[in-house]
């Protein structure tokens, strides 16, 4: 009933929420983002209409996924792209591994792809002896620090410059100050060599355009461009929900993603890839493989109520405003996708009973839904997950409690009696406050209780009549 994942989350989120240093680091990191986001959001003639337009594009794509995926792959294949349809993580991993074996690959460079985290690709490749290097600076830092990304857009958001300096010193033997410019140069020098020696480049895809048969990659460091063009083989991993109908759709989706995700007007590099090197072209990879990943996305597609969760463009805006995320920290989730959207989709991707606790870990404040650039009804889906989990397998003591609640509220006098008993005993509460005997310990651990007034509204109303 109470899965290990749930226990871990409760323990870790509780611990992190008391960590004042962590709280300050995240507040500072997001403070800068908020200012830029608001500044760039205000440049839109109408931000709400832009969100509506983007959500309609994604609605059209997600509701006609069969058609658009085939259109995209047909166009890509016509230019020599090898498309592989992976129904699950295992199939996707095996395809990449077999390809690496067949092509005698030794060294692999990667640009940012959350889908590879989802299918645990790095671990599988490293186990077989491949040298795998993340080229996105944030990803590289957490890779060196041997931890998963903290945030789906800002993987190293939880680390300070001083900590990054120490990680570089420990792992790379560098001796620099903690100035971002100097730290970046350390990573850059290593990375440039890796691009030249890597036999395979693995990337993600932010969008797949059906009309033209292209994938779109958006980034700020230029590392994805080098990852996808230097090595002889380029493999792109893409969730099937990333397809969009038209090239023109990017005109709204790319700036929206940049503003919501990074507080930017547009990201520094936007690349379109439609196939491997074509006859007569002097550069580009010899082979381009696109791995399309389902991994239970089609199950979410079948759920009409929550289908819009597939609109997600992985911008991370919902994480950035989520008070649960900010206080619990990205690592507490134990998921590939953290924050509100992760709490919605993880139960679908990895099992409702194991991951339902994330849907309960929300005050349902709705900040996530308010900022989502593609208008996913995030916080209401948390309610739907809670309902679905109970319908599937109610928790026995909760069911009894709510049956009792339903009986008590049927009879206001009974309810009144309960409170009366509480009032009588409240002066003695201090004797057990915070101990195991305290029935309201969860509350009184950190907070005082209000004093129960002598007369309820009900009683006062009656005496007025």
């Amino acid at each position: 009933m109470n899965s290990t994942f749930s226990k871990d989350f409760k323990k870790n989120s509780g611990r992190m929420s008391q960590d004042l240093t962590h709280r300050a680091v995240i507040k500072k990191a997001l403070g800068a983002y908020e200012i830029k986001r608001d500044e760039n959001r205000s440049k839109y003639l109408n931000w709400q209409e832009a969100r509506q337009a983007a959500s309609e594009i994604k609605w059209e794509a997600v509701n006609h996924l069969d058609r658009y995926l085939l259109e995209m792959t047909k166009n890509l294949e016509a230019r020599g792209t090898k498309v592989f349809w992976a129904s699950n993580a295992e199939e996707a991993r095996q395809y990449v591994i077999s390809l690496a074996v067949e092509k005698k690959v030794k060294s692999i460079i990667k640009s940012k792809t959350m889908t590879s985290e989802e299918i645990h690709l790095n671990g599988a490749l490293e186990k077989l002896g491949y040298d795998v290097v993340e080229s996105d600076l944030g990803e590289y830092i957490v890779q060196l620090n041997e931890e998963p990304p903290y945030h789906l857009v800002f993987p190293a958001m939880h680390l300070t410059r001083g900590q990054i300096k120490e990680i570089f010193k420990r792992k790379l033997g560098s001796d620099t100050s903690d100035l971002p410019e100097e730290l970046t140069m350390v990573a850059r020098n290593i990375m440039r060599q890796k691009y030249l020696t890597a036999d395979m480049g693995i990337s993600g895809a932010n969008f797949g355009v059906a009309e033209t048969g292209m994938i779109s990659i958006t980034e700020n460091e230029g590392n994805a461009r080098l990852t996808t063009s230097f090595p002889k083989i380029h493999v792109a991993l893409m969730g099937i929900e990333k397809v969009i109908p038209k090239l023109g759709d990017l005109a709204i989706l790319l700036p929206l993603l940049a503003t919501a995700g990074g507080g930017q007007q547009i990201t520094c590099y936007n690349t379109m890839i439609g196939g491997p090197r074509q006859p007569g072209e002097c550069d580009g990879p010899e082979e381009f493989h696109l791995v399309l990943i389902d991994n239970r996305r089609t199950e979410l597609l079948a759920d009409a109520e929550q289908r819009d969760a597939l609109h997600c463009i992985r911008c991370g805006a919902c994480l950035n405003v989520c008070p649960i995320f900010k206080n619990s920290g990205g690592h507490s989730y134990g998921t590939t996708y953290q924050g509100p959207i992760g709490s919605v989709i993880t139960p679908h991707l990895r099992g409702l009973q194991d991951w339902k606790h994330l849907s309960s870990a929300s005050s349902l404040c709705g900040s996530c839904t308010e900022v989502c650039p593609v208008k996913i009804d995030i916080h209401h889906h948390l309610l739907h997950n809670r309902r679905n989990a109970v319908t599937q397998m109610p928790v026995w003591w909760e069911r009894i409690a709510f049956k009792g609640f339903s009986i008590a509220t049927a009879n206001p006098a009974l309810f009144q009696l309960g409170i009366k008993i509480g009032r009588v005993f409240q002066p003695l509460h201090f004797l057990i406050k915070g101990t195991l005997l305290d029935p309201v310990r969860a509350w009184t651990q950190t907070r005082d209780l209000p004093e129960i007034p002598a007369k309820s509204f009900r009683q006062q109303w009656k005496s007025r009549q």
Partner: protein, 238 residues
């Protein structure tokens, strides 16, 4: 107008002063206030926990009990959102669907009712204090209540409103969430209290007693020099 005052269960038992203040205001404006004693709760705790069947049993008593009410006013954005927004979903495709929709359409949060429905902002109140306002999430994001309480407070004599940073961020209460994840909930509340304290206000005012219970609980425990008060109590101050 005959106004049915819906008093949330915890307001009834823990914050009767806020509800009495609403009665006073509505009567002063010339309306007849009604109160249905048979109704104890809107069912939100069960609904939010996923126990929709149990929630429906509780909520059905509200839907049926308020069938004849002309207009329903609730002094809580949270319970207001339950009746206005979630009842139609809860009762969708059930025999009570139509009645639930009808109830949703005649239900107003207290400040929204005064400002938007009645067009009243000046209640002749006097409250010579510096205050800051906390927007309850359900009122703000489910019901769109932002300017209504501020319009009312603006007309209160002697009152100075200082907006806090992140006035719109959650206090961390979230119903059963506050007990299921007490430490995360309290950490969220700490952020809210810190923002409020920065304003150096004497009072944190809100239209939601549940948020105020969370905030006051933390403030009392930490012995902070600021008090919480429901907006209705400010609006009856002389």
């Amino acid at each position: 107008m005959k106004v049915h005052l819906y008093v949330p269960c915890f307001v009834d038992q823990l914050y009767p002063k806020a509800a009495m203040a609403m009665v006073e205001i509505l009567e002063k404006l010339g309306h007849t206030v009604e109160f249905e004693e048979k109704i104890a709760c809107c069912g939100q705790p069960a609904f939010n926990s996923g126990y929709w069947e149990e929630a429906r049993t509780v909520a059905a008593r509200t839907v049926e009990g308020l069938e004849s009410a002309e207009v329903v006013v609730i002094g809580s954005g949270s319970c207001g959102a339950m009746l206005h927004k979630f009842y139609p979903e809860l009762f969708k495709e059930t025999p009570l669907a139509e009645k639930a929709n009808a109830l949703a359409n005649k239900t107003y949060e207290f400040t929204d009712f005064l400002v938007r429905k009645l067009g009243v902002t000046d209640l002749g109140a006097k409250f010579p204090h510096k205050i800051t306002y906390h927007d309850g999430c359900h009122g703000l994001r489910e019901l769109g209540i932002k300017s209504q309480p501020r319009q009312l407070l603006e007309k209160v004599q002697g009152l100075t409103l200082v907006e806090m940073k992140e006035a719109e961020s959650c206090c961390g209460f979230g119903g059963t969430f506050s007990a299921k994840f007490p430490l995360v909930s309290s950490a969220m509340g700490d952020g809210k209290c810190a923002s409020a304290l920065e304003t150096e206000a004497e009072y944190i005012v809100s239209a939601d007693s549940s948020c105020l219970m969370q905030i006051q609980g933390l403030l009392t425990r930490q012995q902070k020099p600021i008090q919480t008060i429901h907006i209705a109590e400010v609006l009856v101050s002389r």
